[in-house]
Amino acid sequence: MLFTPNLTSLLRAAWAVFRKDLRSELRTRYAFNALALFAITTVVALSLGVGFLTEGRNADLPLIQAALLWVAVLFAAFTGLARAFVQEEEARTATALRLAALPLAVYLGKLLFNLTLLLLLDLLVALLFAVLLHIRVGNLGLFAALLVAGSLGLVVATTLIAAIIARASVKGALFAVLSFPLLVPLLVVAIQGTALALAGSGWEHGRAPLQVLLAYTVALFVAALFLFGSVWEA
């Protein structure tokens, strides 16, 4: 047996990919600036467009607020999360990485990096919504749990798709086209769950969407583990 990968060394390699991406990002701030600028402009535009939504003006207020929040997160994510792979291809460093690292280590490292970015983005968007749109969160714990679970699913899907589109000529359009059908079920559940959290429902009501989001994430993650090698080395 010549080639004997083990879990510890795989995770160590994935951690190295994550730290490399983080170090590059801290020096260039390319992805985070793109995400943050998009998030800020989107939420400011929303606040100017709809003003302070109040329950008196709309009975479905939590649902509308949840939908607006997830749309802002989704589109900001579209602008930044593909960078993890696109940057490697554009700077032509992907070849060196392909020869040196196991595909799975690359996927896990990039996944962790994208998750870090998206959680920072979630925090930023939630704060902007609180300040500019005056949203009130009835159940903060459930709200945070749903945001994290939804982001996990979003990152698992978009990281794989980013690897698929990285070498295409029309990256932006292809990223949105491939992501949309994959993310629709996730978004529907995330929006409905978040609406419950905003309305102040208890954990007994929030458990179902949370479970669906986590199940969706696990299924997609397992599929990505099987598919990524073929995508990366194609």
Binding site: M1, F3, A13, R23, A91, L97, R98, A100
Partner: protein, 226 residues
């Protein structure tokens, strides 16, 4: 037997176990097409450990493409490429760790320093070198004292030297050199000659070049493009 890497004591992902003299590269009727254009046609050869092959030919004859096939970055349209080790055949894509590759298209991270680049590539290969070991490798390729500089500040010749450090980091049994002295000065060329001479003792080397002075570096020459 090829010596294990100095960092291999801590190597988790790759255990190079008795990569012995039976290392062999086989190409059987290899062809490659880009659309309707045939770039490589019917290449058959076998290369044994300690042999050096020079691939020569005019621009567009497929030299770089052939090297990409040998390191598993591309697949042939027809035929087979195998590395044979211990009686087992491996496709190049299965044994990336076997290969060190230097080519003009190989780019490292410009926003990282040379040391950070080498440490990163060592870590993803499962190696855990000390800073002193990495600095020694940089000194070996003529970059002593420049390890802390960002790659963006490197000249093209320095970047080429760093490519050698990247390729030699894991002491690969197979060394693939595409335009090996591109952008290098006289001392750089001498360095490449030393690296090739050392590689003769531990594995096989394939050099793609247009420079007539480099043809004599091989035991045999494969001419492409008629």
């Amino acid at each position: 037997m090829i010596e294990a890497s100095p960092f291999s004591a801590a190597c988790g992902i790759i255990r190079i176990m008795n990569v012995s003299n039976d290392l062999q590269l086989e190409l059987a009727n290899v062809s490659l097409d880009y659309g309707a254009r045939r770039v490589l046609a019917g290449i058959t050869l076998a290369l044994r450990c300690r042999e050096t092959l020079v691939v020569a030919g005019p621009n567009g004859s497929g030299k770089s493409t052939l090297l990409r096939l040998l390191c598993g970055l591309q697949r042939p349209t027809g035929g087979h490429v195998f590395y044979q080790l211990g009686g087992t055949r491996y496709r190049p894509a299965e044994v990336h760790w076997l290969v060190g590759w230097v080519a003009p298209e190989l780019q490292l991270y410009r926003e990282l320093t040379a040391l950070e680049n080498l440490r990163f590539f060592a870590e993803v290969r499962g190696l855990r070198p000390t800073t002193a070991e990495l600095e020694a490798l940089l000194a070996e390729v003529g970059l002593d004292g420049r390890g802390g500089d960002l790659l963006a500040a490197y000249s093209s010749g320095m970047a080429q030297r760093l490519r050698y450090a990247y390729a030699l980091l894991h002491q690969p049994p197979v060394l693939l050199l595409d335009e090996p002295t591109l952008t290098l000065d006289q001392r750089g060329t001498a360095l490449v000659e030393r690296i090739i001479a050392r590689q003769r003792e531990r594995g096989l080397t394939i050099i793609a070049t247009n420079d007539p002075r480099e043809l004599c570096w091989g035991d045999s020459v494969l001419r492409l493009g008629g």
